[in-house]
């Protein structure tokens, strides 16, 4: 509440305009926003054409059920996204929680079933032992 008051006092508001002027300004902004959308689509298309790098090392992780390989992390799907979260000794929050930024990310991730429906598995990976992650 106090914060809101402070913001209101310090912010120099943009012009207050008529509905017609607001609509015109919005249309003008929309042109740039559409450019951004197209550019983002083109970037994703370029990512889909990135060359692939073969992973030849046999990486090993600890999971809730014991040792697993990088291949196991895919959980049978063709695509895997691994987010490296900082949750380990020496990182702020240890051992109660992961780094606050990483925790915030984990807290706002969409339901994984939507990604799974598109052949994708998302996992987090940290240095913390499973006993602390569980």
């Amino acid at each position: 509440m106090d914060n809101n008051k402070k913001i209101q006092n310090n912010v120099k508001a943009p012009p207050i305009v008529s509905p017609q002027e607001w609509e015109a300004a919005h249309q003008q902004l929309l042109v740039k926003e559409k450019e951004l959308t197209r550019a983002r689509d083109a970037m994703a298309a370029a990512r889909r054409r990135m060359p692939w790098l073969a992973v030849n090392k046999n990486y090993e992780f600890d999971g809730p059920e014991g040792k697993v390989s990088l291949l196991d992390l895919f959980d049978g799907r063709p695509q895997l996204i691994v987010y490296r979260a900082f949750f380990e000794p020496g990182v702020f929050g240890w051992p109660e929680h992961a780094c606050r930024g990483c925790s915030m990310l984990a807290d706002q991730v969409a339901h994984l079933s939507h990604l799974n429906a598109r052949d994708t598995t998302l996992v987090f990976a940290s240095r913390a032992p499973q006993a602390d992650i569980a």
Partner: protein, 112 residues
């Protein structure tokens, strides 16, 4: 969220030993490939289904996308579902198909 413990040089090998980041991998049978990496400001948009899929080699797998030839694609909207109602191989509900057809016809222009 599946949350694993790194036990070896995975973090150093994939650029995430000192800072957070997302690595994307593709699996062809038992062969694994690194296809993408993003960290720092690029990381912050993650969290939504669309952003994650846009980082993957297959993308959203929707027909409008500019993808290499032969990549799997289906119409947008139609595969979207409630998180607990996705079932492998389940047909799309006919009524939803109809709604999507009417909606996309009406808004196609605005969508471009």
């Amino acid at each position: 969220m599946p949350w694993y413990t790194i036990t070896d040089s995975f973090d150093a090998d994939f650029g995430v030993d000192e800072w957070h980041g997302h690595n994307v991998f593709f699996r062809d049978g038992d062969n694994v490939f690194r296809t993408y990496f993003v960290n720092s400001r690029g990381d912050e948009a993650t969290g939504s289904t669309w952003n994650y899929l846009d980082l993957t080699p297959l993308g959203r797998q929707e027909e409008w996308e500019d993808s290499p030839e032969g990549y799997p694609q289906t119409p947008p909207y139609k595969w979207w579902n409630w998180h607990d109602e996705y079932a492998a191989g389940a047909p799309v509900q006919p009524k939803w198909v109809e709604v999507v057809k009417i909606g996309t016809a009406a808004f196609q222009k605005a969508d471009n």
